[in-house]
């Protein structure tokens, strides 16, 4: 849908889409982030409270080959990137670090590329 240039309505943009991804990533990180980092980065690698075989090749492969597991991995990885992209973009914009169009590419652009990479890897790992 298009609005005429002299329309009193605010111009339509795709900003709410980025805002939605930012909010979803932020909420995901706020609810589960500390537990995820503690489990995958501290407890499992050192065997503190969780067995080290938790992230054995066979177990992680089984997770990445499960459709639901794929969805969880994609959601966690991609949404965190989109969340960070929004925050970094707005902060760098406020700092006037570079022209806005360049900042957009460096933040949203990188998040988009990494989302595609994640998706491609999940598909390459197979079902």
């Amino acid at each position: 849908m298009s609005t005429p240039n002299d329309s009193p309505l605010p111009k339509r943009t795709i900003a709410p889409l980025f805002w939605l991804l930012f909010g979803a990533g932020g909420m995901l990180a706020a609810l589960f982030g500390p537990a995820l980092i503690l489990a995958t980065g501290v407890m499992i690698p050192f065997g503190w409270g969780l067995p080290q075989r938790f992230d054995s090749y066979a177990n992680v492969l089984a997770l990445a080959r499960n459709p639901l597991g794929k969805l969880v991995l994609l959601a966690v990885i991609a949404l965190l990137f989109w969340h960070a992209a929004e925050r970094l973009f707005l902060t760098l914009k406020d700092m006037r670090a570079a022209p806005v169009w360049l900042l957009r590419w460096l933040t949203y652009g990188v998040a988009a590329v990494l989302t595609v990479v994640t998706l491609a890897l999940l598909l390459a790992i197979g079902f």
Partner: protein, 134 residues
């Protein structure tokens, strides 16, 4: 061209590193730290796709002191993100009225933070439960 020429107060170069903006900068960058965690997970996924040998190298990195230090810093950032995220929450959503009374913003923040802590504890319990059966 616009005829108006509003007065723009000069701002020091590194204004974002000084109070009161510093807290804002730290909050935003704690959100950016989450991308580093996502990148670590993505690296794991990439090594998983390359095969068992590559994945074993990745696991050895995870078990290194450097990785532990990084993850402890990331954990601190994630906790700070959780705390500040729910401090912002009431300011970004409509007013909440319950039984004709306005719910105070600090009550909303506190409730949401407690819910988040419970969510993280439940996920950790799930991990421990799954770990016991693996």
């Amino acid at each position: 061209m616009s005829e108006s020429r509003p007065y723009l107060r000069a701002q020091p170069r590194h204004w974002w590193a000084h109070s009161p903006y510093r807290a804002y900068t730290i909050r935003e960058l704690s959100g950016v730290a989450l991308a580093l965690y996502a990148a670590i997970l993505l690296a794991g996924l990439a090594s998983l796709a390359r095969g068992p040998a590559a994945f074993e190298t990745y696991r050895q990195f995870l078990a290194s002191p450097l990785s532990l230090l990084i993850h402890l810093l990331l954990l601190a950032a994630a906790v700070w993100h959780m705390w500040t995220w729910f401090q912002i929450l009431p300011k970004t959503m409509p007013k909440l009225v319950w039984r004709g009374r306005l719910i105070r913003q600090d009550v909303m923040s506190l409730t949401a933070t407690v819910v988040a802590v419970v969510c993280s504890l439940l996920l950790l319990s799930l991990f421990i439960l799954v770990g016991a059966y693996l």
